[in-house]
Amino acid sequence: MTALYRYVAAGVLHRQLYLPPVLLFAVVVAVGSRGDGGPLLPLYALWVGAILISSLWLTVAVLATEDVVQERITRVNSRRMWFPLVAAVLVALTFDVVMAGAAVFFPLLVGVHPADPRDLLVGFLAQMAAAGTGAIVGLFCGRQVILRPGYALLLAAVAVLALLLVRWIPPVNPLIRLLAGGEPASTMVGPVLLADAFVALSVIAAIPIVHRLQRISR
């Protein structure tokens, strides 16, 4: 898996497909960071929404790094044919970790905020739950499942809107409301960890489904 991760990461870095989603997130964080001394958690609520979109885009980009034929070679060479999907998700999540980590600290660099370490922890974990959710949607919107980019874009847009706006669809909307609700971070650690665990299990469940769909498409 390490070799596969290195190969996928090398391809992504060479083709620079990560740039648009990373720049989108960076712009949201830069514009959204205010130096008004307000609490950090409502800012992090905005980052949660932004990283959902960026992670989805990143995952689709990582999955599109290889040509279809080259991807077939890589799948055959992997010990398990679903390993490349795992590697793609891990590479996308690596970018997400860097983005979420930077976004947690960025407001402290450009302004003065009351900084409780638990705020930073909750902000980071909440972003990772959203990033994982974006990765799951990205897996289903990738070329491996949906051959036509137009349909993939449509599905991605519908999924993002539903995840952001529908109150009862976990975990992004509930997390945004939680972070923006004005409660202290100490009360949020449990729910945020629960969301992370839910997303991690969902990612693990999604990979065999996507692999199965991939094997019945062209």
Partner: protein, 312 residues
């Protein structure tokens, strides 16, 4: 490895093939032939495990599979050396082992470019050699080659034929597709024609190093009304059948051609064209086998293109 009643279709599209049952023993070299769109590449994708068959089962797939596509899209910025290093590591080799194996393999194929060059700058033939090398970095138990004779030069043909023979001799299964209008050594011990849904036992070209291979003749026949089925002796040499028309192309040894032509005429078939295959042998050099004239194609049909409508 066993294929039992395997059938494949995409979505609600037509069946490419159905009820394909084959038992592939270690050391077997099997070729899949057929017209464009008959499903040759799809069968290979099924054998590799890339696709799940619409019906039937495939069991006993060996753990180590080498896969060489028909067209290797070398669009990567990675160099050939870096790409092969990645593929070797993915297959479980150490970086040092890949670095040791790569030059030997590529040298055998007469790879003519700098290993450090970006893959996108490689010629089609050299890119195909990189594709072959990645499949052979770890000796595969199942080697899958999609139309391997296209894109390679004559030296590559001979080297590849040798590699196929060696791989089979090791006890591995080799599966390949061939467009039979494309010249290439006959290395297979079995051929399954997807248009015919029928197994043939072709006559292999013999040892690759044979300095004087037998000349062959391409015969195009058309079935007349009331003609009997193709005689068995002729059916063994069948290389392609045009779907929807009663026209077949055969590749037979020149020494047998008169006898086989007579058998075809007696069975009620009409001879459309006969093309002698010229064998040029340089002194100690590579063998170059090519038809003395272009294959006879029906008007409007055009020569088959490597990827023309061939799914997957």
């Amino acid at each position: 490895m066993k294929l039992t009643s395997v059938g494949q279709r995409y979505g609600r599209g037509p069946w490419l093939f159905s009820n394909l049952t084959l038992d592939l023993e270690p050391g077997e070299v099997v070729a899949f032939s057929g017209s464009n769109g008959s499903g040759k590449s799809t069968v290979l994708a099924l054998l590799a495990g890339l696709l799940h068959p619409s019906t039937g089962t495939i069991t006993g797939r060996p753990p180590s599979v080498g896969f060489v596509p028909e067209r290797f899209p070398a669009q990567q910025r990675l160099s050939a050396a870096a790409y092969l290093a990645h593929m070797g590591r993915i297959r479980g080799l150490s970086t040092a082992a890949v670095r040791h194996a790569t030059p030997t393999l590529l040298e055998r194929f007469s790879f003519t470019e700098v290993l450090g060059s970006p893959m996108r700058t490689l010629s089609k033939g050299n890119a195909q050699k990189v594709a072959l090398a990645q499949a052979l970095l770890v000796p595969p138990d199942l080697l899958i080659l999609d139309e391997p004779w296209t894109g390679l030069d004559e030296v590559g043909h001979d080297v590849l034929a040798g590699i196929i023979t060696e791989t089979a001799a090791r006890g591995a299964i080799v599966a390949l597709s061939r467009h039979l209008a494309v010249p290439g050594p006959v290395v297979e011990s079995l051929r399954y024609d997807l248009d015919e849904a029928r197994l043939f036992h072709p006559i292999p070209s013999g040892p690759v190093a044979d300095p004087a291979p037998a000349a062959t003749v391409l015969i195009e026949l058309r079935r007349r009304d009331g003609a009997a089925p193709l005689p068995e002796a002729l059916a063994r040499g069948l290389v392609s059948r045009r779907t929807g028309q009663d026209t077949v192309t055969l590749l037979v040894p020149q020494s047998d051609s008169d006898r086989l032509l007579l058998a075809a005429l007696q069975a009620g078939w009409s001879v459309v064209a006969v093309t002698v295959t010229v064998t040029v042998t340089d002194t100690g050099g590579p063998r170059d086998t090519r038809p003395s004239a272009g294959l006879p194609y029906d008007s409007g049909d055009g020569p088959p293109r490597a990827s023309d409508g061939d799914p997957a």
